[in-house]
C-alpha cells in the first residue's frame, strides 16, 4: 500500500480542491490589504466558501476511500511538490474549517471599522491573521514535502504571534515576543533537521523519504532536531513556558484559534515525521521519552491550572495538560502497531485532538463572554455568574466534560480508548496518568463551576450582557465536542485512508 501511495504521482480527480483550500484564504488576505475597511465582510464571505471546499475534500476522500493528490505544476517528486490529503488531513481540514468559521462569526462585531473614523489597525489585522492561520493550517495538512511544510509552519507562526498582542499592552507584547522566540528556535531546529535529511537522502518528499530512510545516525539526529523544534511550537512540557501568557493574553476569538488549532498544526507534523516520513526509526525508548514528557505535561499543567486565579490562565494551563495526552500516541501506537488494537489507539489519539480543539475553542469563547460581562475574569469573584450569564457557563461546563473525559463527550471516548490501549500494550503507567489527569481536570473545571453556580453575596451587576448570537456560537462549538463522543467509531476508518501501514495494521 505504501508503495502504491508513494508512486501515485498523478493528480487525482478533485485534486484541485487542495489548491483552493490553501489559496482561498490568501485571496481574502490580498483583498483585505487592498480594501482595508471591508476586511470583516471579506472574511465572512470567504468562510462559507472555505468551508464548502473543506467539506468537498472530506466528502471526496470519504467516498473514494483514496487520498486526494495534486501534483503542483505537473512536476512529480523528487523535483516537484505534491499536495496530498489522506483521511487524517481531510478530518483536520474539516475541523479547522468549522472552528475558523465559528470564530469568525463569534468575532463579528468585535473587530469592526467605525464609520467616518481613521481605519483601526486591530480590526484589519485580526481578519487577515485569521485567514492566514486558516491557509497555513490547510497547507500543513496537505503538505507532503518537508521544506514546503517548513514554510507552512512559519506562515502559521507569523500569523499566530501577532494575534497574541492585538491588544497592544506591554504584557501581551511581551507574551508575543516570548512566543516568537520559542517559535524561532523551533523553526530553525526544524530547518536544520531538514537540511540534514536532504544531505543524506537527496529528497524532502515524505513518500520518497519513507522508502529511503533507514536507522542511520543522521536520520536519528535530524528527526530529533526536528522533533525538538516542533515540540517548542506545540508547547509540550518543558517547552511550554510561552503558552499561558500568550493564549491568555490574546482576545477571546484569538485564544480560541490559538489554543484549539495552531498548536495542533505542529503536533500533526510530529506525527507525519515519525510515522509517515520515517517509519521504523521510532524506537520504544524515544516513544517512551515523548510520552513521559506528555505525562509530565498532564500532571504539571493540571496542577498549575488548579492554582490559577484568572479564568483565561486556568484554561491556558489546561491546554498544556491536554496536549500531553496526544503524546501517548507514540508508545501506544508503536507498541500495538500491527495488532488489531492499533486502530483504536489512533482513533483515540485523533479524537482527543479533535475534541480538545472544539472544547478549548468553546471554553475560551465562554471565558471571553464572561470576562466581557463582568469586566474581569478573576475566578474568586465569579459568584453568581451562573445565574447572570447562564449560557456561557453551560458552554464552559459542556467543554469541561470533554476535558475531564466524562460521558457523553468526545474526550470521554478518546481517553477511554487511550486507557484501554495502555492496558492492552501492558503500559499501565500511562493508564494511571490518564486517570489522574482526568481527576485533576475535574478539579479545575469544578472550581470554576462551583464558584460560578454559588450565589453572590450581593446582586451581580453585569457591565454588558453578552449578545445571544455569540453565546449560541460558543455553545455550538462546545456541542461539537460532545457530539464527537456519539459518532460511531466505525467511521474512524476515514482516518486510516491513505495512511502508511505502520499506522494501520501491518509491520511492527
Amino acid at each position: 500500500m505504501l508503495q502504491a501511495t508513494a508512486l501515485q504521482s498523478a493528480t487525482t480527480p478533485g485534486g484541485f480542491l487542495l489548491v483552493l483550500a490553501v489559496m482561498l484564504p490568501v485571496v481574502g488576505i490580498l483583498l483585505s490589504l487592498v480594501l482595508g475597511r471591508l476586511a470583516e465582510r471579506i472574511a465572512l464571505v470567504l468562510c462559507p466558501l472555505g468551508f464548502a471546499v473543506a467539506a468537498a475534500v472530506f466528502a471526496t476522500v470519504w467516498q473514494s476511500g483514496r487520498p486526494l493528490i495534486y501534483v503542483v505544476g505537473g512536476w512529480a517528486p523528487p523535483l516537484g511538490i505534491v499536495l496530498r490529503a489522506d483521511g487524517l488531513s481531510a478530518a483536520m481540514m474539516m475541523m479547522t474549517a468549522i472552528i475558523i468559521c465559528a470564530t469568525a462569526v463569534f468575532a463579528k462585531g468585535e473587530f469592526v471599522q467605525a464609520p467616518r473614523r481613521a481605519e483601526a489597525r486591530g480590526s484589519l489585522v485580526f481578519w487577515i491573521l485569521l485567514l492566514a492561520i486558516w491557509s497555513a493550517l490547510n497547507a500543513i495538512v496537505v503538505g507532503n514535502d518537508l521544506f514546503n511544510l517548513y514554510v507552512a509552519l512559519e506562515l502559521l507562526t507569523f500569523a499566530a504571534v501577532p494575534l497574541v498582542c492585538l491588544k497592544g499592552s506591554a504584557t501581551t507584547v511581551r507574551a508575543a515576543l516570548r512566543y516568537l522566540l520559542f517559535a524561532l528556535l523551533g523553526s530553525i531546529l526544524y530547518l536544520l533537521g531538514a537540511v540534514l535529511l536532504y544531505g543524506a537522502y537527496g529528497t524532502l518528499d515524505i513518500a520518497l523519504l519513507s522508502r529511503r530512510v533507514g536507522a542511520e545516525p543522521v536520520a536519528a539526529i535530524a528527526a530529533a532536531l526536528m522533533t525538538i523544534g516542533l515540540l517548542a511550537k506545540t508547547a509540550l512540557f518543558p517547552l511550554h513556558l510561552w503558552l499561558p501568557p500568550a493564549h491568555a493574553g490574546a482576545p477571546a476569538p484569538g485564544s480560541a484559534v490559538l489554543s484549539g488549532l495552531v498548536i495542533k498544526g505542529s503536533f500533526f507534523l510530529i506525527v507525519r515525521l515519525w510515522f509517515d516520513a520515517m517509519p521504523g526509526l521510532l524506537t520504544m525508548a524515544a516513544a517512551q521519552l515523548l510520552a513521559t514528557l506528555g505525562a509530565a505535561a498532564i500532571l504539571f499543567g493540571s496542577v498549575l491550572a488548579l492554582r490559577q486565579q484568572r479564568l483565561k490562565l486556568l484554561i491556558a494551563y489546561s491546554t498544556i495538560a491536554q496536549i500531553g495526552y496526544l503524546f501517548f500516541l507514540f508508545p501506544l501506537g508503536l507498541g500495538l502497531g500491527g495488532t488489531e488494537a492499533s486502530g483504536a489507539v489512533w482513533t483515540g489519539g485523533w479524537l482527543q485532538l479533535f475534541s480538545h480543539a472544539f472544547a478549548k475553542a468553546a471554553m475560551f469563547m465562554a471565558a471571553g463572554l464572561i470576562a466581557e460581562a463582568l469586566g474581569h475574569d478573576r475566578i474568586a469573584e465569579l459568584s453568581g455568574v451562573g445565574r447572570a450569564a447562564p449560557l456561557p457557563m453551560v458552554t464552559f461546563a459542556l467543554a469541561g466534560l470533554s476535558l475531564m473525559g466524562v460521558p457523553p463527550s468526545g474526550g470521554f471516548v478518546a481517553k477511554g480508548l487511550l486507557l484501554i490501549a495502555a492496558v492492552r500494550a501492558a503500559q499501565w503507567w500511562w493508564a494511571a496518568t490518564i486517570l489522574i489527569g482526568g481527576l485533576l481536570a475535574g478539579g479545575y473545571v469544578l472550581i470554576v463551576l462551583g464558584k460560578a453556580l454559588g450565589s453572590a453575596d450581593r446582586p451581580l451587576v453585569l457591565k454588558a450582557s453578552p449578545s445571544r448570537r455569540r453565546e449560541l456560537i460558543a455553545l455550538t462549538v462546545a456541542l461539537c465536542a460532545v457530539v464527537l463522543g456519539l459518532v460511531p467509531l466505525r467511521s474512524s476508518e476515514l482516518l486510516q485512508i491513505g495512511r502508511p501501514p505502520s499506522v494501520g495494521v501491518a509491520q511492527r
Binding site: 501577532p162 506591554a170 507584547v173 511581551r174 516570548r178 516568537l180 501568557p245
Partner: protein, 109 residues
C-alpha cells in the same frame, strides 16, 4: 580536508555558537541575533550539501540553493517581526527584557 569539510565545520560551529547564545542570553535582542547566527549556520550547511551533492555534471545541486533563498526570506521576516515586537515593547516599557518590571505577569511564566 577539503574546502567543503571546512565549510561544514564552520556551519556546525555557527549552529553551536548560536544555540549557546539563544539558550544562555536572557536579553531578547541577543536571542534574536543568536537566532540569526544559527540561521546562517544552517544556510551554510545548505551550501555544503549543495556542493557535496553535485551530480549530473552540474557545478552544484540547485535544489538546496533554491531552498536557501526561501529560508533566508523566512528568517528575514522572522527577524523583522521579532525586532518590531521588541521595539514596541521598548516603547511601552522602556525596557528590553522579557521580565515584567512591575511583576504583573510574574505568575505567568
Amino acid at each position: 580536508m577539503t574546502s567543503t569539510d571546512i565549510f561544514a565545520l564552520c556551519a556546525t560551529s555557527l549552529v553551536g555558537l548560536g544555540l549557546f547564545g539563544i539558550i544562555t542570553n536572557p536579553q531578547p535582542l541577543r536571542k534574536i541575533v543568536a537566532f540569526n547566527v544559527i540561521g546562517n549556520g544552517v544556510f551554510l550547511l545548505f551550501g555544503v550539501v549543495a556542493h557535496r551533492g553535485a551530480a549530473a555534471g552540474l557545478g552544484a545541486d540547485p535544489v538546496p540553493q533554491a531552498l536557501v533563498i526561501t529560508g533566508i526570506v523566512v528568517a528575514f521576516s522572522a527577524t523583522a517581526l521579532a525586532v518590531a515586537l521588541l521595539l514596541r515593547l521598548a516603547k511601552a516599557t522602556h525596557l528590553l527584557t522579557l521580565e515584567a518590571d512591575d511583576g504583573s505577569d510574574g505568575d505567568l511564566s
